[in-house]
Symmetry: D2
Subunit: 346 residues, 4 copies
């Protein structure tokens, strides 16, 4: 006999919320308890998205009074708006998985530096586990409070973690990332209009210390204490609905062969159900990962003739709405709840 868990979704009118509902619908042990929406409370989900599910939408305030109806709450609220909700749900003892950026950085000083403001629930920060499953799986088991990673950092961190952990990754890391437009959320701004984004590509926040770098420092500096990496990160708007492709230009310690690097990746990700390291000569594309919880990684030396070539191009791809958001949130839940990690995610 298998248990069934009931999920609450706070904020179901954006793309991560509706994506969660879609995956929960396929999950053999998860079902919807309630769904909130401030703007559309009183309507049904089918009024807001082109879906067949007519779940009623309730205001968040009503959800606070109905924590008994659910085993886990997924917070799909805008960045900054999760803090109070997390406090309320955490206090009720229900499991909380926050898809916003509000609890990803454990150190309030680091948070303040990157976000330019004081965190208003610093007492909760040490209790949140950063939910990069392949890196923090042990800490996730049984965890009550989970901060789901950002989409860009998930692609970068999975792509470089084996090198960083092995102490082989040089200080300088150049990351050229391309993201599908759903990464911007369901935001009605001019750059996200079809006519603006279609048949276009545009870099943005060039040269800016993008907040996602904080998560790269968290994972990759944290993977091995010897190196503080210096990240140059350029995101681009890519005219597709979903997917992130990060092309990473890195150097490794001299004398290490491509074969050794491939073995390190193979060992790090052995048995991982969602990480797919490609053989030599294949390159990670969005097609490898969209509509799945997979991460595809390709490893290519810049100078193929030089067996000890120090420069590599690592390409990592994920679906920003799945492994970069709602899929990873379910994977975190599965681990935390002690059920099959791949349940509902195949």
């Amino acid at each position: 006999m298998t248990n069934t868990f009931r999920a609450g979704i706070a904020g179901a009118t954006g793309y991560t919320g509706i994506e969660l509902v879609t995956w929960i619908d396929r999950h053999p042990q998860l079902e919807i308890g309630w769904i909130t929406s401030e703007n559309s409370a009183g309507k049904s989900l089918a009024d807001v998205h082109a879906v067949p599910w007519t779940y009623p939408l309730i205001p968040l305030a009503e959800a606070f009074a109905r924590t008994g109806d659910v085993d886990v709450v997924f917070l799909c609220l805008p960045h900054g708006e999760s803090i109070e909700a997390a406090q309320r749900f955490a206090a009720s003892g229900v499991r909380v998985i926050d898809l916003s950026a509000d609890f990803r950085l454990p150190d309030p000083v680091v948070y303040a530096r990157w976000y330019g403001k004081t965190h208003t629930a610093p007492e909760l920060l040490p209790h949140f586990v950063y939910g990069l499953c392949e890196v923090n799986r042990d800490a996730l088991r049984g965890a009550q409070l989970i901060a789901n990673p950002g989409c860009y950092p998930t692609s970068v961190n999975l792509g470089l973690y084996p090198l960083a952990k092995a102490g082989l990754l040089d200080e300088r890391v150049i990351i050229d990332s391309k993201s599908g437009i759903s990464g911007a959320g369901r935001t009605t701004k001019v750059p996200y209009l079809f006519v603006e984004a279609n048949e276009n590509m545009t870099p943005y926040s060039v040269g800016y210390r993008h907040r996602h770098i904080a998560e790269m420092e968290l994972v990759l500096n944290g993977a091995n204490s010897h190196t503080a990496h210096r990240f140059t990160f350029t995101p681009h708007l890519l005219p597709v609905n979903r997917g992130i492709l990060s092309t990473m230009y890195v150097s490794v310690a001299p004398g290490v062969t491509e074969q050794q690097i491939r073995e390190i990746y193979a060992a790090t990700y052995a048995g991982e159900p969602f990480v797919h390291v490609l053989p030599a000569g294949q390159f990670a594309s969005l097609r490898h990962v969209t509509y799945s919880n997979r991460c595809a990684i390709s490893i290519t030396p810049v100078y193929p003739d030089d067996a000890n070539g120090a420069d590599y191009i690592i390409v990592a791809t994920i679906d920003n709405l799945v492994k970069g958001a709602s899929g990873q949130a379910i994977q975190c839940f599965n681990i935390a709840a002690g059920i099959e990690e791949t349940a509902g995610l195949k």
Copy 2:
């Protein structure tokens, strides 16, 4: 020696405005006098669109005082907002080409029926020439006030005018139209977001008496007094930036052969520089017309084996921003000003 004319553009931050600037830049006898924008006055055009032209944007009120600087004003204002501007510019004696729907219907009673309100400048209506160049060329010569046709009706009217004028078009006309998203303007609404429109197609206003039908009645009922057509018109949002494709299901009087119909089209459009009637076996596509002022038309009998087949599928395509808006506006100007009709439009 050739004259050069100076153009004012009222409202340059939408898609028809910037399209006009692009075509005027190529026109050997047109140059920019001034450009207005209410929201972006004080900025330059390059601040608002990804273009190299740094024309300053001025408020409309300032443009009213600078009619002496221009020979023609193109009104690219939202529907309903052209009326007052047209009155002001018309009074100054400058030529006015209105790209909105405000002056397309000459009869204020018809206007009130379709738009649900009383026209506030009915005295101007009889002075506006409806600028469907291939149909109203003579009236356009020397015209001071021109109402530029709508995009959907331009595709339908050019596609069916030869049949209607010849009195061969049966009463019932079914029009299935597909429009690129720029037809919705630069409107920041959810359905026009990239992620919503991309990889999607959706009909809209189904079964609704769309205002564009008024222009079809104007031209096609007007082409021949014997028939009042009954239009069923279903528009669809098509995930491309530009282009309208109208697939039209019509019946013609029995006993007329396909060859006779082709001859009627050939005669009607003989010498037309922008109408391209395709040979049998070819079908009009967006590719035939995008980024050009052309209209492509294909004519296909439903029952190819029946030489006298009464049912036909007429497909007509245009670029909604060119022949459906700014290109036709320039064509109107060229005719009205007495210069080469194709100037700047090749």
Copy 3:
């Protein structure tokens, strides 16, 4: 305890084959037995598609010798190439679900008329059940041989079946269909190149007696013996990967109200897990159905003010690779094998 069935896939390098593998991967009671490919035998599936599954690809001849390894064979072969394979597999007693057009028309005379050649296995035709699940569910239970419906006809037949069965559908039916490019298969021809199809729309086979009309006649004429419908069917290439949207212009018997029609649809599709009839005022879009086995249907009178309006616009959408191909094939299998009809399809 649940049974697990093993599936053979004949022809896995096209889009329907790889789509089947993807859905089988999620199915709790199906697993891959073998996969064939003539062109890529000896390679693995991951060499041919951007997927993580490294199933070896074997030649069809080898599969004929391994029918004992599988419970069901899905034929994803090109039209015309299924006949011999179906004969071989049928003779072995294994269940066969043919995704090609080869066994859809039960009458060899009708087949010869539409396909212009004599069927080479007419003895099998009466044994194949046409797998439109919502219409032929009873016949599918326990069936050994199943002909999976075509994608265009599935959208049309599900959209009009309730009206036809009730005897309300008038003779003349005009169908304007738009299909994503995957409908053309993985065919390396110029019109299917990205640069040709993107930012384009083109009708094709206009006025042609498209073979898919045969399946419409089969189902809709068959639904009620009183009417032989006259179909005008215009397909268009739509620049999306997946999805068919059919806009259908029909007339119903006078005196029937919109409410009565809605009740007929509701009754016909009561309890159907994959048919989603939209409420008044909503219109079926691709977004309602892509990446799912659903069919969305909207019903709109042409003259909304006329409660007895005889003209209706029915819009039906499906994902051509799911409900239009591989998803429906699995649904057929589930019914035939007597397991949960929605297994693996949510």
Copy 4:
């Protein structure tokens, strides 16, 4: 009075050929003499592309006999097939502009190293001028033989030439380029199918010594003799029809301020009609350049707070079919023929 020149186009069925015809149609001093196509000889251009122009297509052999009909021949032949044609036309004394890669590298030794074969017309190499107009304008005046630059190198070379010429560009240059699919030509291969490329992004030739690097070495090493640059170049297939966006990660000599760098770019490109250096805070996008002959360039320091920051992100965009091919070819012609450089290109 203005002269009119007649152009021959060898190879008009690919994308650069048809693009040339489109621009020549707008050019006030160019008209079509003849057009060749080996595969479609005997047909008209309108049979092969969705265009209204019915120019007859003749075989190349016939064109060799008709050099008297033209003033200039544009070679739009596949790489490798231009050599013999160039010899034949060059011998006739007509002006030749070759859009292939065959004559871009002046040194046959360098050619052999990159192309892996011996050049079969080495005697012609020194007579070809490399047609990067902004760099080689003086050499282009009056030139009879012109090698039109490649699309990727044009974006890179225009983006970095000012730095390289000033001797400020460090050795290591990392280039992450994204190209619209028309860059692959009208090639019927699986990766260029709509369904494969759409909603996808894929790097290709990663870590490979792409031949286009030879043109970067030619221009950027050639700009200043002190530095031999080391290029890491990763091209990606971008799901748009047209456009190249190159994101370049470079270091400049320490102590140089952003302001000084901006002044160098401004001075280098002062008066250039087609190079558009964006102000600080704006980033070059495809939208800045598609369907035009422009190149947009943005300059951003990696560490904005450090006035002397040594690391920069230079983004350069062009339309690969215009400034990256046919537009630049016309610009070359205009310079060579001594007419207005922008004629037909606005």
